[in-house]
């Protein structure tokens, strides 16, 4: 049996934090530390060397985006650490800021996702493995945003669906499994999508997420 993934959890609302810790424990993860503020989080990461830090955006002292800044600092100090940021509100701007330097092993999820243990567990595992995880709701908002004529109109329904899964951080294999398609078929679609949108193809999944998110955000009809 492989070692369980070790997690440090930073969230100032005790009730919520204990609940997530319990659910992660039940899902087979090892929660090695809990923090209510960014400083404690930093100390715990130093001391425990966890695989993943789960961080709430809003934390003391000002309850604005301390968590986000803490995540970016941890990122610089511990490049190998997986970081999953949970937020009460999804803002594409924050996602873009988080992904900017190095998107590998970064996740940005709506807080509600913790309600589904399986979804949360999946995100933690992916982040621990160095993947990028972007909340489907944020991707749906970016894709569904009304635009005047745009290259996105050239995409088929299937290509649009695949573009969304790419933005969520899925690999070609992940997309193939999700849509029950042959991986070769997915590869073909991905090539088509990049050609239609005029994007530089990249095989690295986390770079691809950044390219797609940046494209969807900057697209102004």
């Amino acid at each position: 049996m492989t070692e369980p993934i070790r997690i440090v959890l930073a969230e100032d609302a005790v009730l919520f934090r204990e609940a997530i810790a319990g659910s992660l424990g039940a899902a087979g993860f090892d929660v090695v530390g809990q923090a209510a503020d960014p400083d404690t989080l930093a100390r715990l990461v130093e001391a425990e060397h966890p695989d993943v830090a789960i961080v709430d955006v809003r934390m003391p002292p000002t309850y604005r985006t301390e968590g986000l800044e803490a995540a970016q600092r941890l990122r610089r100090q511990h490049p190998g650490l997986g970081i999953l940021v949970l937020s009460q509100y999804l803002e594409t701007r924050y996602a873009a800021d988080l992904l900017r330097d190095n998107a590998a092993g970064i996740g940005y999820l709506l807080k509600d996702r913790v309600m589904r243990v399986a979804d949360l567990a999946d995100a933690v595992r992916r982040v621990a493995a160095g993947a990028t995880v972007i909340d489907p709701e944020l991707v749906a908002r970016l894709l569904g945003r009304p635009r005047a004529h745009t290259p996105l109109d050239e995409l088929t329904a299937r290509e649009r669906e695949i573009l969304g899964l790419m933005a969520e951080g899925r690999s070609n294999r992940g997309i193939a499994e999700h849509l029950v398609l042959d991986p070769k078929t997915v590869e073909g679609h991905v090539t088509q999508i990049f050609a239609k949108l005029g994007l530089e193809p990249t095989s690295e999944v986390h770079r691809r997420v950044v390219a797609v998110i940046t494209y969807l955000r900057s697209e102004r009809d």
Binding site: R58, R64, T65, Q88, Y89, E91, T92, R93, Y94, D112, M115, R116, R141, L142, R145, P146, R147, A148, R220, D221
Partner: protein
């Protein structure tokens, strides 16, 4: 008698008076002009006071109706849902209904309740506005709009009350555009000369917006409350542009 070259009153007097005491008519004239000017100024102040009273009343009314709306949203939405869920869980305890199915259902209901509460909270004040300022908050607003909205704004920060007022104007204007204007797109532009912040929201819709309507009235009050003015340009068939100019100091 004139003020700034404009005829404001006529002094009617006995024609003989001018001959008997030459300075008198002129003296009476200048005193009367002063009195008239005083009366004019105090009438102006009274009218301004009246307008301030009226707008204060409207702001209180608007706040009240907004609170009622939030109460209604919470009551009809999350509160009902949570209550129904509690009843359902207790019923299941009595009837011994299958736990797995029930728990899934309960989670679905809770998910919806959480979403409703979040939407209400975000509507009250988006975090991104206090955190990153007007430009990024407007971008986030545009992303959620039902029509394409282009934002032309920098990341520059302004006083909190001005950022809030500007955001409120933009959010309300977009709501109005989507509801009434039959527009295909809108532009939000923020500029500043250092003394004023100017935010303009323009659409390509039907025009003919009623500046006296309660929606625009409310926006004018909101802008006036921070010492600014809101102008409405809405020629029939040629779109609408709202422009709020607010002093930064």
């Amino acid at each position: 008698m004139e003020r700034d070259g404009e005829l404001i009153a006529v002094l009617v007097h006995d024609p003989g008076l001018g001959d008997e005491s030459p300075g008198l008519v002129e003296a009476v004239g200048s005193v009367a002009t002063l009195a008239l000017e005083n009366e004019r100024l105090s009438a102006q102040v009274r009218a301004q006071l009246e307008e301030v009273r009226a707008s204060r009343g409207r702001i209180v009314e608007a706040t009240d109706s907004e609170r009622k709306r939030i109460e209604r949203d919470l009551h009809d939405g999350a509160q009902q849902r949570l209550l129904a869920l509690a009843v359902r869980l207790q019923t299941a305890r009595v009837t011994g209904e299958g736990a797995g199915h029930l728990l899934d259902q309960a989670t679905d209901e809770l998910q919806i309740a959480v979403t409703e509460v979040r939407d209400i909270a975000r509507g009250l004040h988006p975090t991104i506005l206090s955190e990153l300022g007007l430009g990024p908050a407007l971008e986030a607003l545009a992303e959620r709009a039902a029509i394409p909205v282009r934002v032309h704004a920098t990341e520059r920060r302004y006083p909190t009350r001005i950022e809030s007022a500007a955001y409120f104007v933009a959010a309300e204007a977009l709501t109005n555009i989507v509801r009434h204007a039959a527009a295909t797109a809108a532009d939000i532009t923020v500029t500043s000369d250092g003394d004023n912040l100017v935010i303009a929201i323009a659409d390509d819709g039907a025009g003919g917006a009623d500046a006296k309507g309660s929606g625009l009235r409310g926006l004018m009050d909101r802008v006036a409350a921070v010492g600014g003015i809101l102008t409405v340009d809405s020629p029939l068939g040629r779109g609408t542009q709202l422009t709020a100019t607010m002093p930064l100091r």
